[in-house]
């Protein structure tokens, strides 16, 4: 998990197109997440943010362009324990109660697959729960938690496999201030430990200081890219045309050509 300045990006999208139910959602998205980078995807509802992250984790088939994870095409990528996925929090509860620890332990299966969990795995599960500040509630059913606490459970579930790349879909949606703070702190620790992050956000909010690059999507294309959005003058939003900054060091961002 050392932060290398190697040439190989953690994930790389090159003119990626994708469709959902026959409707084209991504019309050529290109972006790169380098090692140790935190990249935020912004954009209106329906701009394709969630589809991008679901394509990166292999859950939406790519119909054109190239998508690589750790240098491998996503289609043949097999080393999923290097990726921690935090899906959009669903309000649908399962039919059977489950404790915080049980849900988080599911994330550890990325390392164990069909083998049972060992003592070391259970320790990793406890560490992840502690990291999101839920140690005292580990034995409680997830249904009893608030929205923010539930989100922290999903993050702990992704962290428990000790991934190199964290992929999060709207981690701040419906999350109370307390949990937002815990979340920002958790992300900071991860990034300091060398992890890379790709996350969908509605607004930068408390995570702004952590974000290396904001990519604004619109209608399935990259509209613009902003480096270090937190350093922008007060009041200017990455969506603002004046935010078109000089091209970043890596030739990663192009608007779609379709």
């Amino acid at each position: 998990m050392e932060r290398e300045a190697g040439p190989e990006p953690v994930t790389e999208l090159d003119e990626v197109t994708a469709e959902l139910g026959g409707r084209t959602v991504l019309r050529g998205v290109s972006l790169t997440v380098g090692r140790g980078e935190v990249v935020a995807l912004l954009g209106a509802n329906g701009s394709g943010k969630s589809t991008v992250v679901r394509a990166v984790v292999g859950q939406v088939p790519v119909t054109g362009g190239g998508l690589r994870l750790f240098g491998h095409p996503v289609r043949s990528f097999g080393d999923w324990s290097r990726v921690g996925y935090v899906p959009q929090r669903s309000t649908a509860a399962g039919g059977v109660p489950a404790t915080v620890r049980e849900v988080v332990a599911a994330g550890r299966l990325a390392r164990r697959r069909l083998r049972p969990l060992r003592r070391a795995d259970r320790a990793a599960v406890d560490r992840a729960i502690e990291r999101v500040g839920l140690a005292e509630r580990a034995g409680e059913p997830v249904d009893a938690l608030s929205g923010g606490q539930h989100q922290r459970v999903l993050i702990a579930r992704a962290l428990t496999a000790e991934p190199e790349l964290l992929i999060m879909d709207e981690p701040l949606a419906g999350v109370d201030l307390d949990s937002q703070r815990v979340l920002a702190e958790t992300l900071r620790t991860q990034v300091e430990g060398g992890a890379s992050v790709l996350l969908v956000l509605h607004e930068l909010g408390p995570l702004a200081p952590l974000i290396d690059r904001a990519v604004v999507l619109g209608h399935g294309r990259v509209e613009r890219t902003v480096d270090r959005p937190a350093l922008l003058p007060e009041g200017s939003h990455p969506c603002h045309p004046a935010d078109e900054l000089e091209p970043s060091a890596e030739p990663t961002l192009q608007t779609g050509v379709l």
Partner: protein, 310 residues
């Protein structure tokens, strides 16, 4: 049934006496095994909100039983084969997202039932009367051959459902996340479907095809009235399953009532008692602000409950 004359015997000496009869030993052994296996599979179906899948498989198994009569083959193994095919087809339909779950289930129900009735009437000298013991169960007529099949199948079911419990839990709890962790989700889903089919055919001798699903679902639902986690629900559900199937089989021997119906009614009674006992527990949890599973209104205190909630 020879047991009817002994209804006044004390329960303790009665149980020992019961074991003197080989047919009752087989009946109790198969009841024990199905009491273990059915809730162990059922919990995953309940978790995935597919509580009625067992019923669908039960109806398809009927076609298998009828095919056994038609082809002069063992109805139990034919039922295993046909219900496995049905369960796999059902799972493929579900995962492809091409058919709505309830519609696919309806097809399975009625297709299986109609197929069974049609085929058994085509069999030489066959009529729907041949199906009766499979529809309602006849635990006291379990043969030594049946016991071998029941033991093999329940061993398989328990091996899968307990050995792979974390993996199956992950798949049923959040299928997309499970795929991203690299679990072989499709294979696990198919394995669960096959396991459910095996359970249904094992249980059909004990509770009958029409009541199979009750033993898969009710102990689980009863357990989750008081449990807070998946593992405790599983342990409690299996305990409940064993208790009601053994008690039901014993009761049916003494009271000369059908075992399947007795087991299911006992399970429902147990559910009612557990729910009543759980009421103060749920209230206490709600007061602590946690909510728990006491009801939708206490679930998320931060969100106001709409007045017109259905």
């Amino acid at each position: 049934m020879s047991g009817t004359t002994m209804t006044s015997t004390l329960a303790s000496s009665g149980v020992l006496e019961l074991l003197d009869y080989p047919f009752m030993r087989r009946a109790l052994l198969s009841a024990l095994l199905i009491g273990l296996a059915a809730p162990a599979v059922g919990i995953y179906l309940v978790q995935r909100r597919q509580a009625l899948l067992g019923d669908g498989i039960g109806h398809v198994a009927l076609t298998g039983v009828a095919l056994g009569f038609l082809l002069n083959a063992n109805p139990v193994w034919m039922a295993v084969a046909v219900s496995t095919v049905g369960a796999v087809a059902m799972e493929l339909l579900r995962s492809s997202g091409r058919a709505r779950g309830d519609v696919a289930l309806a097809m399975l129900f009625y297709g299986g039932m109609a197929g069974g009735v049609m085929i058994v009437n085509l069999a030489p000298g066959g009529s729907t009367a041949n199906l009766t013991s499979f529809l309602w169960g006849s635990v006291t007529t379990v043969s030594p051959d049946d016991i071998v099949a029941i033991m093999l199948l329940s061993a398989l079911v328990l091996l899968v459902t307990l050995g792979l419990r974390r993996q199956l839990f992950a798949v049923c709890q959040d299928e997309e996340f499970a795929r991203v962790t690299g679990l072989p989700v499709r294979a696990l889903n198919l394995l669960l479907a096959v396991t459910a089919a095996a359970t249904v055919t094992v249980a059909m001798r004990v509770v009958g095809l029409l009541l199979v699903s009750a033993l898969m679902v009710i102990p689980v639902v009863a357990a989750q009235q008081v449990s807070r986690g998946f593992a405790t629900t599983l342990a409690l559900a299996v305990t409940f399953g064993v208790v009601v199937s053994l008690a039901g089989t014993t009761t049916s021997y003494y009271a000369d009532v059908p075992p399947g119906a007795t087991i299911v009614l006992l399970a429902i009674g147990l559910f009612a008692v557990v729910s009543l006992l759980a009421l103060p527990l749920a209230r206490r949890r709600a007061r602590r602000g946690g909510g728990g599973r006491g009801g939708a209104a206490t679930k998320r205190p931060a969100e106001p409950v709409p007045a017109g909630r259905p």
